[in-house]
Amino acid sequence: MNELLWIFVSALLINNFVLSYFLGLCPFLGVSGRLDTAFRLGLATIFVMLITALCSWFLNTYVLVYAPYLRLISFIVVIASTVQFIEMVIKKLSPALFKALGIFLPLITTNCAILGLAIFATNRGYGLAEGLVFAFGAGAGFTLALVLMAGIREEVELSDVPALIRGTAMNLIIAGILSMAFMGFAGLFSAT
């Protein structure tokens, strides 16, 4: 099994960031109400994750060899600043793109999926290519979970869910069932 492919499939399905690692739950629970918003948030997340992979690789290779203890804080500062910078650029250059994707950027920056991605990639010693593939897989997996969730939630809006359950409790239980369904991917490509 090709190493890069395994990294991708693992991040996308088997160890889905949301459903298996519990990362990025706030946007997952908060922004999954409407399908089209969810999809755009997903795309924005993929984008930020790729940026994060780049930043963390850069920091790991050029800065942190001198001061490994600054890992966490420098990740945070660099990722946040870069995203904020890109946000401003997009806002200036393409208001349409900003309206579609950019408004989610600040929401994503302070999100554990992003920082988690950087930390996992570092812990596992991923290089640049591996890091980017990992980021793409994780982002796509996040988008997949988010879009499925949003589809389900839009449907649930039409049902008479008991008032007591409506809201976060319901969303968590749906996530639990989704997570159960995703268990079906466990062991994928490692059995043969």
Binding site: N60, T61, V65, Y69, L70, I73, G125
Partner: protein, 218 residues
């Protein structure tokens, strides 16, 4: 910041310089605090890490009392304690008399849920594996985690031939010297462990043979 007339930010609008200064100062301070904490805890942490590693090596290579870190570079193995990114490293273990007993080889690969990392001991003279220790895994509790919780499974690796290739076989089936009993209900994790070791063998055994020259000696 001349446009502050209609931006309604409040009282005095501090200049950019002040902002930059604040952030830099905060960074400076935090860096200082962190480094202090780091320096204080570093000895304990490094000592603990070394201890864990040593224990693992000693466990997979019975009878070993000291070890060395070997790095494979430029088609040769050299002793090197400096951990660097991208290193391909194994450990050689020596007994009390200073004789080379064998090597502890790390390996990693996909398991049932996530990547499994392990370390196993290899004794070149006998072409045998002398022990296996799981360093990291997220296998299912109660099933896959038997690869390190089930003593019977771990015992499989205490004296295991590497020729022709290790295989995981269901319990009760006839076995060769290079076959192990798969865990019932966790065949996949068992096979994953076997595959990881096989792959590491494929990588390292030729290298060890080629490099079993004097420089590996103490």
């Amino acid at each position: 910041m001349s446009s502050s007339r209609n931006t309604h930010v409040g009282k005095g609008d501090p200049g950019s310089l002040k902002l930059i200064a604040t952030l830099s100062f905060a960074g400076l301070l935090s860096g200082l605090i962190i480094v202090l904490a780091y320096e204080t805890t570093l000895p304990t942490i490094t000592a603990y890490k070394a201890k864990v590693l040593e224990e693992a090596v000693f466990k997979v290579l019975p009878g070993v009392t000291s070890m060395q870190r070997l790095v494979y570079r430029d088609r040769a193995l050299t002793v090197n304690d400096q951990v660097q990114k991208g290193d391909e490293a194994i450990f050689s273990g020596f007994d009390a008399s200073g004789r080379l007993v064998g090597y502890a080889i790390p390996g990693a690969g996909p398991g049932f849920q996530d990547t499994i990392r392990l370390l196993y001991g290899y004794i070149p003279e006998q072409r045998k594996i002398s022990g296996m220790e799981i360093l990291e895994s997220r296998e299912t509790p109660g099933l896959g985690d038997k690869i390190y919780k089930d003593p019977a499974f771990v015992a499989n690796f205490e004296s295991l031939s590497v020729d022709p290739e290790i295989r995981a076989i269901k319990k009760g089936k006839p076995k060769a010297a290079s076959d192990i009993d798969a865990i019932t209900g966790a065949t996949i994790s068992s096979k994953a462990v076997v595959r990881i070791i096989n792959e590491a063998n494929r990588l390292w055994l030729p290298r060890l043979e080629q490099a079993s020259g004097p420089e590996a000696e103490r």
